[in-house]
């Protein structure tokens, strides 16, 4: 029997959703200050409107939803997915008011893409967008990478057992420290340290490349945000192709690979456990799969004679594939070059890299390295069982912060989520092909959206059918929250209507 949620359930969900949305409003103070700093008055007003809308929604819920009840698991999941939904709807206001979006659906697409660190966008005339709006685009993706719930946990929640349940609902389950709020702050400590160092490196490099100090700083900051969060937004429509520099690309690669690593791995390194990076199943899985796709793609493009020399070939292939595998979405080739220069084989191999994706509990998306590691180990275990005597007990373990023995429950969990991702990729691809896009291009784009990567081969555009836009939005949302929270929200809605 499905139990209809009681008034208290609605109140507790409303209360915590309101807190997260107030957090989103406070976050908009940064682009507001940027707009004021650059005397972009129209943009500044756009942000005031959006901030006030967030406050009205958030404080309105605080006034209406008064309760002392703490969160349960299902509440946590609903708050996480519900917060993302409302944060998207309200976070889209500055995009919409800027006049650069074709419709509100397009702005929802862009903001969901930002929060989920995807990086696809439908904003038009990006090269004439204000500094304030550019700050918001990149801040969205930086905040989304850490998790907007993590932000709220850090600043707005004051010690509640239920906080962990919202944290998990956002697709993160690592507890770096015993207290979840301390964990959220530890995530921020790591991220902000990287922000300072990464922006400095990119900014200085930008000045060496001929950028003025102000542009070099802001481009450095935004490119860092795009790389670390594995978001892939950049301030110019040319993306990181803008810089034409191998040094800038190397810095980007280091940041995006670091951003794609599990926060638990970062924390282990931070606290002195340096060996972890060599032993961790996710880093091993990442380097193995990245090496394989890079070698195969290089081989095919070398055969096709697309690039003039080995260095250019490796530089282009490794950058796009590292970007795809970390689910960042930066590129140094034109979107259509995937079709006209890389061809179907290049498209398919990049799709594979994106589909596997980054590490769990990182800023990245995709099936995740840990699941690939667990499934590979399980396969290995089965093969060993087959070739061993019947009486032999074959055990397999993997290392992620500590050694864990494989059991059926663990493998089933990894397989379930993997199958869910593959189904999502397949459904979106079918929808794309029904609209007439070639199979490999439809698959490339849907996998890019649902793995939160953001590379495009030209399918995504402001003129693509609305159904595909909605499909991609749902793909980004489901992919980022790893299904369970969104299913919990749907279940909650169903229980409200049909429960007894």
């Amino acid at each position: 029997m499905i139990v209809r949620p009681r008034k208290e359930d609605h109140l507790v969900i409303g209360k915590y959703t309101g807190k997260v949305i107030i957090g989103v409003g406070l976050l908009m103070l940064i682009p507001l200050a940027t707009s004021i700093g650059f005397a972009e008055w129209d943009t500044a007003i756009d942000f005031i409107v959006a901030i006030m809308a967030c406050f009205i929604f958030g404080y309105g819920l605080q006034v209406v939803c008064r309760t002392a009840k703490d969160l349960s698991w299902s509440h946590g999941l609903v708050v996480a997915s519900g917060s993302w939904f409302f944060a998207t709807a309200l976070g889209a206001l500055p995009h919409f008011l800027s006049g650069h979006a074709g419709s509100y659906l397009d702005t929802l697409f862009d903001v969901m893409s930002g929060y989920t660190t995807t990086g696809l966008y439908l904003l038009q005339d990006l090269d004439h967008v204000s500094m304030g709006l550019n700050m918001w685009r990149h801040l969205l993706t930086y905040a989304g990478g850490q998790g907007i719930v993590v932000i709220a946990l850090t600043f707005l929640f004051k010690g509640t057992a239920g906080a962990y349940k919202v944290y998990v609902g956002e697709g993160k389950d690592e507890r770096l420290l015993p207290n979840v709020i301390h964990t959220a702050r530890a995530i921020w400590l790591v991220s902000l340290t990287w922000l300072g160092i990464g922006t400095l490196f990119l900014g200085v490099r930008g000045m060496m490349l001929g950028q003025g100090p102000v542009r070099a700083f802001f481009h450095g900051l935004w490119v860092f945000m795009g790389a670390w969060s594995t978001g892939g937004f950049a301030p110019q429509s040319y993306n990181t192709f803008w810089f034409h520099d191998i040094g800038y690309e190397v810095i980007c690669i280091v940041i995006m690979i670091a951003g794609s690593f599990n926060f638990a791995l970062h924390w282990a390194m931070w606290t002195g456990n340096r060996k972890e990076i060599r032993k961790n199943v996710e880093t091993i899985s990442f380097f193995v799969t990245l090496s394989i796709v890079t070698m195969v793609t290089t081989f095919f493009l070398a055969k096709a004679n697309v690039y003039p020399d080995a260095m250019s070939l490796f530089r282009k292939v490794f950058y796009q594939l590292a970007s795809g595998h970390t689910t960042t979405g930066f590129s140094t080739i034109y979107a259509r070059s995937f079709v006209t220069q890389w061809g179907p084989v290049g498209l398919i191999l990049t799709t594979v890299a994106m589909a596997i994706g980054a590490s769990a509990c990182s800023t990245g998306g995709g099936i995740k390295g840990i699941r690939m590691g667990v499934i590979s180990k399980a396969l290995l275990q089965d093969i060993r069982r087959m070739i061993s005597p019947e009486s032999a007990v074959i055990m397999e373990k993997y290392h992620h912060i500590r050694d864990t023995w494989l059991d059926d429950g663990l493998v089933r969990g990894a397989m379930t989520v993997t199958i869910a991702y593959l189904t999502l990729y397949a459904v979106g691809t079918i929808i794309g092909t029904l609209y007439g896009y070639p199979l490999e291009q439809a698959a490339f784009e849907m996998v890019s959206a649902a793995s939160n990567t953001g590379l495009s081969c030209g399918v995504t555009s402001p003129f693509m059918p609305a159904v595909m836009k909605v499909t991609f939005i749902l793909g980004m949302w489901l992919g980022r929250l790893e299904f369970m929270s969104v299913f919990a929200l749907i279940g909650y809605g169903y229980a409200v209507v049909r429960g007894k």
């Binding site: 972009e40 008055w41 129209d42 943009t43 007003i45 005031i48 409107v49 006030m52 809308a53 406050f55 009205i56 404080y59 309105g60 605080q62 006034v63 008064r66 309760t67 002392a68 008011l97 006049g99 650069h100 074709g102 038009q124 005339d125 990006l126 090269d127 004439h128 204000s130 004051k158 010690g159 509640t160 490349l209 001929g210 003025g212 542009r215 110019q236 429509s237 040319y238 803008w242 034409h244 191998i246 004679n305 697309v306 690039y307 003039p308 020399d309 250019s312 070939l313 530089r315 282009k316 034109y334 259509r336 070059s337 006209t340 220069q341 890389w342 290049g346 555009s461 402001p462 003129f463």
Partner: protein
């Protein structure tokens, strides 16, 4: 006295001619590039066969577009990015209709030639429209496989200008109204917090 009057008339005439030329130049509609940046990226020698390369690779092209962002000088040469999209002559802030993404081409040009380009497009500026002639490289050997044009000549077709983006009155009024409402709700929340919820600060 007569000479002074004559001089004044002369100055006025010069101003009039200059203003007329500026207005005329500002209204010039530029024909689409042939080839456009989209064509440069998309047109293959044999559709579907990447081994045969791109059609325009290695050919000399003449290309015009809005100088966007900034010039990045690298020694004797510089990178300039030219957008030949729907916003080349008028951007969204100036009221251009939305017509899709930006598109353009990266141009490698002698740095000395870029001195004539005084405005680069961004939120507050519509960049100068520049015409270049040079060789198109689908994957440039000199620049790590980048797609670019190595230009040998550069000409400014239209000087760029500052763009205004005034605040509409309705937007300012909306912001003021929402501020009042948000302030009221914040006050109400603070006032009623302790009365209803004994677990303050949760």
């Amino acid at each position: 006295m007569r000479i002074r009057t004559l001089l004044m008339v002369l100055v006025a005439a010069v101003f009039f001619v200059a203003a007329s030329v500026s207005v005329a130049l500002a209204q010039v509609a530029f024909p689409p590039n042939n080839p456009s940046s989209t064509e440069l990226v998309n047109r293959m020698n044999v559709p579907g066969d990447i081994t045969k390369g791109l059609f325009w690779n290695g050919k000399t092209v003449t290309f015009h577009g809005e100088a966007i962002g900034e010039v990045m000088i690298r020694g004797d040469y510089a990178w300039v990015h030219l957008n030949d999209d729907a916003y080349m002559e008028k951007n969204v802030e100036e009221g251009a209709k939305l017509a899709g993404y930006n598109s353009g081409m990266a141009v490698w040009v002698p740095a000395a030639l870029t001195k004539t380009v005084d405005t680069y497009g961004d939120y507050k500026h519509e960049g100068s429209i520049v015409e270049i002639t040079g060789t198109f490289n689908a994957a440039c050997k000199e620049h790590g496989g980048d797609m670019d044009i190595h230009a040998t000549s550069l000409k400014v077709l239209r000087v760029g200008h500052v763009v205004d983006d005034p605040v509409p009155a309705w937007k300012a009024a909306l912001a003021a109204g929402l501020m009042l409402l948000a302030g009221g709700l914040y006050w109400l929340e603070r006032r009623t917090r302790n009365r209803i919820n004994p677990h303050r600060g949760v």
